[in-house]
Symmetry: C2
Subunit: 159 residues, 2 copies
Amino acid sequence: MADDLLKYDRMVEGALLGVVQEALKLAASEGLPGEHHFFLTFRTQAPGVELEDSLQAQYPEEMTIILQHQFWDLFVDDDRFGVTLSFNNRPHNLVVPFAALTSFVDPSVKFGLQFNVAVEKTAPAPVPATVPQKAAPETSREATETSRSEEHTSELQSH
Amino acid sequence: MADDLLKYDRMVEGALLGVVQEALKLAASEGLPGEHHFFLTFRTQAPGVELEDSLQAQYPEEMTIILQHQFWDLFVDDDRFGVTLSFNNRPHNLVVPFAALTSFVDPSVKFGLQFNVAVEKTAPAPVPATVPQKAAPETSREATETSRSEEHTSELQSH
């Protein structure tokens, strides 16, 4: 098979991060409709993440936040979102670039997207530029950190 | 399961039509890189489709065009693209809104997206607003026109 010079995986990942952005924008402007709520998982060490030291220490790799009943000051930019959440009865401000997201799940309708970020925790060695990176969304809520270079299948599921 | 008031299916479909748009824009500005080439299938009766009468008569429902070696004047707007192709040794101009697309396939890397357009050929009766429409992309190159209202699975495959 020919090389994917157009990098469809990255195009699809970028497009689906746009879906997360759109959902967050709706939540920011109108609140969460019906029973919708979001689980957002992100890499706490990713560039641009703003997180208080206590949370950074508690979640050195990944953190999952829930936007459901108690969240405040949600804002959504082109490349990141921010929100205030309560942890241990104290408000914490977070800023998360979309590039740091590893998954988005809305359990109310069993919708999920998984993002495979450029930085591979299990593959610290540089990867040759011609080997496709994991860059496609998946449905599983489990964060799979294995590297699949030659072949991969992406799935979206909804409903 | 709760109603999908956020309509993720439509968000995902819109996002993935953006991938097609991005691929076409690259082809328009820089040509098709490497062995990439596109099969685009669209509903010839969809609003906004511009197609000469002879082709309209020959393809009364759907038409698949191939962008590979011989195409000219490709342009891409926010909501449509246009191109000149040769049929029977004569140039024909086509304009296709993205909303008319039913599939996009790049055989060079086995990448495909299928779009399930709002108009259901096999379900002419009005569908209640609360029943999810087929609106999610699929990989199969076959146009499946069956209606699945309660449950559906969408898949993307690449590589």
